[in-house]
Amino acid sequence: MGSTAKIQVNARNRAYQFEGDCGEKILNLGLSNAIGLPYECGSGTCGTCKARLVSGDIADRWPEAPGRKYLKLKKGEFLMCQCTAESDIEIEVESFVHTMEAGACVPSALKGRIASAKLLVHDVMLLRVELERGVDFDAGQFMLIQFPEVVGFRGWSMVNYQRHAESLDFVVKKQPGGKLTEWMFSHECEGLDVELFGPLGDATFYSRLGKNILCIAGGSGIAGIMSILSRAQQDGYFSQYNGYVFFGVRTMKDAFFLDELSDFSDSGGDKLEVTIALSEEEAPSSAMADYPHLNFDKGFVHEVAGRRMADRYKDIRAYLAGPPPLVNGAIGMLLQARVTTDNIRYDKFS
């Protein structure tokens, strides 16, 4: 077996051929060749990247991946994000696959080092990763990151936004029972080397969008929204369009980025509204006094958003981020408000 393999992908509209290292995931090889292979989470949970093996040999790097429940094993289906080519292979995907646009941020593998790991609240930290080289990404995209200490790539959205970013900020929430986050919250992370792949994701904001934007996020889902707001602020987007941001947490003790969100709201003027939705308590009056540029409300964030948005959905693009119940609840709320599916964007990854 050589160290590189030729890969042919037969999609519904055409075939693609490329080559790559046998140690690289098939999905990553295709994406880094600017081929828009289907995916969503990139980390083995959603099943979207499933393909059928026509010929050749592959290796499954995570046989316990939850996304394997979507596979028809009898037909030779596998997850492109978890498998590598062991020989030249021919595979088939069901969907239409197109090459990425010229000027798109083509994903690639890169290395980084944890420059800082700062606790924001008791179970959320802000991680800064300095990269070996600058990277371009769209606001709202995410990176797959792997720590050598705990095998497996996780997807985290970038909090910051800049061209040719030499460092990336991520929000990491401690997941009960989560191997990586439990490790991160109990060990010194600064100085660790990490591997990254990206940027990934289609739930992106760009200033030519020309629509009002609605952002509904829960917990660590606020990360990508911060990147969107950074981009929008840099381009003076809210001098022309409206922005409605709803950030849900359980209590004030769990709320973070309030200073930053307050600054966005202040600089966005009348056209940007930012609301903090507390699901388990009323906001204390001190919060409202400390953050006069933020609204506070009680309830689940998608319900608060539905109540406060009322019928202000004209010309809107919605960005959703958070745990599946939040995203599903928000989708339902938006569809009932007659927002069309092409204006509802989200990345579902755990």
Partner: protein
């Protein structure tokens, strides 16, 4: 080939779905306001269970996993959907809903999954 009673209209309030079994075949019935539709229980995209993940209003069925949609009044697929929704014939007599079941409707490429040793397809690492 025969009409089989699957449920009553009262079982499925407007803009809801319910899953029932007829002759061993799972079928979802949807009340879209103007009437009823019956279809296989899983989304033709990635087999998401529609009773868990689909929303129904304004005559549109939406699977919330990837937002595939169908107009239940006309039957046409909408937006992101790349496959048609297979439909069983349905009729209502009084309060009873009947479906015409010749055989189970199966999307092309769907097969019964068998227990297969993963080593048939993967080299162990």
């Amino acid at each position: 080939m025969s009409w089989k009673k699957i449920c009553t209209a009262a079982d499925i309030p407007e803009n809801t779905l319910g899953q029932f079994e007829v002759d061993g075949i799972d079928i979802v019935v949807a009340n879209f306001g103007e009437g009823f539709r019956a279809f296989p229980p899983r989304c033709p995209h990635m087999e998401e269970p529609l009773c868990e993940s689909a929303m129904l209003f304004d005559g549109m069925l939406t699977c919330t996993k990837h937002l595939w949609q169908w107009n239940l009044s006309s039957g046409e697929k909408l937006g992101a959907a790349e496959k048609e929704l297979l439909l069983y014939d349905v009729k209502q007599e009084g309060d009873d809903i009947y479906v015409l079941v010749e055989e189970e409707l199966i999307y092309e490429d769907d097969d019964e999954e068998e227990d297969v040793d993963d080593d048939d397809f993967f080299n162990a690492d």
